[in-house]
Point group: C2
Chain length 512, copies 2
Amino acid sequence: MARNSLGREVPETWQGKRYDPYQDPFTRMPTMDRATRPLVRRNPGESKILPSLRAAIEKSGLQDGMTIATHHHLRNGDLLLNLIVKELDAMGFRNICIASSSVHPVHAEIIPSIRKGVVTRCETGVNGLIGELATKGELDFPIVVRSHGGRARMLVTDEVPVDVAFIAAPCCDETGNLNGVSGPSACGSLGYAFTDARYARKVIAVTDNLVAYPASPVSISQSDVDYVVVIDSLGDPKKIVSTTTRVTRDPAGLLIAHYAAEVIEASGLLKDGFSFQTGAGGTSLAVADAIKRKMLEQKIRGSFGCGGITGYFVDMLEEGYFRTLFDVQCFDLRAVESIAKNLTHREISADLYANPFNRGSVVNMLDAVILGATEVDVNFNVNVNTESNGYLLHNTGGHSDTAAGAKLAVVVAPSIRGRLPIVRDEVTTITTPGETIDVVVTERGIAVSDKHEGLRKELLRRRLPLKDIRQLQAEINALTGKPRPLEFEDKVIALIEYRDGSIIDVVRQVKE
Amino acid sequence: MARNSLGREVPETWQGKRYDPYQDPFTRMPTMDRATRPLVRRNPGESKILPSLRAAIEKSGLQDGMTIATHHHLRNGDLLLNLIVKELDAMGFRNICIASSSVHPVHAEIIPSIRKGVVTRCETGVNGLIGELATKGELDFPIVVRSHGGRARMLVTDEVPVDVAFIAAPCCDETGNLNGVSGPSACGSLGYAFTDARYARKVIAVTDNLVAYPASPVSISQSDVDYVVVIDSLGDPKKIVSTTTRVTRDPAGLLIAHYAAEVIEASGLLKDGFSFQTGAGGTSLAVADAIKRKMLEQKIRGSFGCGGITGYFVDMLEEGYFRTLFDVQCFDLRAVESIAKNLTHREISADLYANPFNRGSVVNMLDAVILGATEVDVNFNVNVNTESNGYLLHNTGGHSDTAAGAKLAVVVAPSIRGRLPIVRDEVTTITTPGETIDVVVTERGIAVSDKHEGLRKELLRRRLPLKDIRQLQAEINALTGKPRPLEFEDKVIALIEYRDGSIIDVVRQVKE
């Protein structure tokens, strides 16, 4: 074990692989060439259509010990990963690694296959029960958690070679041209799957909506797809995209949003060319709403919105607040409809969005990002992976990517959640280093990183409740009491990889 | 030297590199991995803007003996290649190789730099004076001619590594997001430059139209571009795209077009889902016009048009004759305007368009293609590279790619050109093997390859002037006389590479 620059004890070797401890957000440089794969020739008249998932698995050359991937654009409505693992189980595979872009609660269905040794490693963060059981020591399933940009980096550097990528394709033609914008399992952007299609050794498009050649638009191209399989259904439409995403009505949430918008204005970034990312949560959308009103008043025309896209951002695009949306994932139906028809609503890969190891990602051009947290600490480190019970319940998403890229990274969170204070001496798990976080906003006050002296002064001038983060912590603790420290076993059940591939933290088995 | 399967004597080693003789169109398989390049990390706030072409050349790390590339979307209006070579000359570079997607007559300006040894090799076909002088032995400039798909293959296989790609960018932002659809040098699709942007070791965007971030749409992405240089002008708009492309009014051309359309109809391919490529010549457009009328009469809805796109194909898209256009190059202003706004008018790379070494290119899905020729021979081999004086004057374009991919490859040509017969015992240079050509149409008759017995019968049933190709040749020769054979020196001045990388023919110095 080594101690990284944030004081966390992290392994230098884990599950047979070497890792470097986290140092800082920006200086780790790529020393390798871009990943490659064997070239393939397809002549006219050759068919890619295979009759079943099993036939595709057979054709793919998958063997015990190899790595598969899926994308998570169907979110909790995804049926594909479960179908694949069930088929692998039936075919007698063992020791398969899952390197999907994320795993959702719906994939708890694969737990029996984990116990059986069909799938035994997870090169992706997990949402839900699998992580909980792993943290409790009830499931032996080593997990490496990565940000969206970090996962793209992993593929582009070949750190985790994916042997077979199964790409859920809501609309697909016989050659494998595919998109996510139409069909019963429409999910919009397929941004997380782009990099898999370019780097996986074999690429299998799986669709429940085979259309005449050529599918249009094309998100992933025939020139990258090996085989096409048609199945009955990729997913449950009701769980794929929400029908609507809404601004919060909670008074505390609205107050937080008001403060966050004031912070952005006070930073001086809110001017022509402003670029912005928020999540899909009600408070985030309330910030967007407040920012939009400021832009209207001040006649500000922004440049781009990015990240997971909601109908709220689509409105801002259509009403001229942004010139472009960079969309790596659609959060609601309105976003899906928009990306299908609006050229300025642009589908982008996770690589372009956030990979630190390319010639320039979109997050590098962000002015402000609104981020969530399960905990923050007095050094502005943020946890989004574990809850305060220590359970690994959430994937990183673009959290550490956008925090590193944006000029202003603002964490918004209620000061108390589940009777526990949001501000800690130390977060349970460091997802995002405090060096890349600029402001923490709660309904009880705003804490600004020391490096932003000007911003602090401007907040005071605006009579906003600026507080030292320790003072904010003390005020919250006065209400909640100081939380009891969690107890952990030595056993590391997951690595939290920073976007550059270094290890920023680990998750240990919880002492029950 | 070895004799290839078409009887041409071709070198096995030339200019220090090994080559395989051509065997057949489809069996040569890739045995290598996809090309790679070093990964680069760009952090937030780093600028890519450099003050001059010279600064960019310096930053690129270019050294004597290395290879540069440009794209030819600005066609005969391109200023960039000349500017670069002039700068290389001024900076004292020697022995640079040009691997652009094509070289046009305007680039005759670099001839003094060729004589001086600044640029000494050409890994691209050439149009115009440079080829003429090379064929006459007046310029020492070894040339390897490739098809569009073959050039993409060369990059993807790393057969010719490009050290620095200079990408003329009609619209570009500070991070290198760029497109060809707006600005004074707008040219539409940048399809030939896509593969350079992915594989060249350094990628420099050169623009005369720097726009606010983010440029939109994005053809080539910030994540692939190393540097951005702003210059006064990329090109002469009048020579970049024609303002209009028109159907021929020549009676022989119209007769040829009528025959060609009848052939396509007789082939049985003209039904729902029909896909089609023609060039921008007046006869080709007349074929498109005749096909369109047949589609209207028979209520046929096609699938896609592809290749270099004209306003004529844009009309067919907008009027519902095609669902999609795959556009690797815009031939006229109407095509430029359309690709800027219509999601179903899709910009594609030369790789996706025609590279034989990928998981499936667009040409593989073509039903019919209309092709030109400077000569055809009694074995249906086609020459588009040299004229009947033996001069290397034309690049291959997508000729051999589409011929190999399409179900029906139809050569249209006047029976007599410049008093010389179009049908020869042997073409001067084989660009495209007869095995991939199905029909030759002249105003004096239609010759169909032996393999299409059904089509021959159907043409006879329709009382079309079907002729054996030797009979057609004899009829033409009766008018023109048998042409005097050209005399050549031994010296090979250019290789004609088939799309799969094998050598289908050479161009020898002409005996004057």
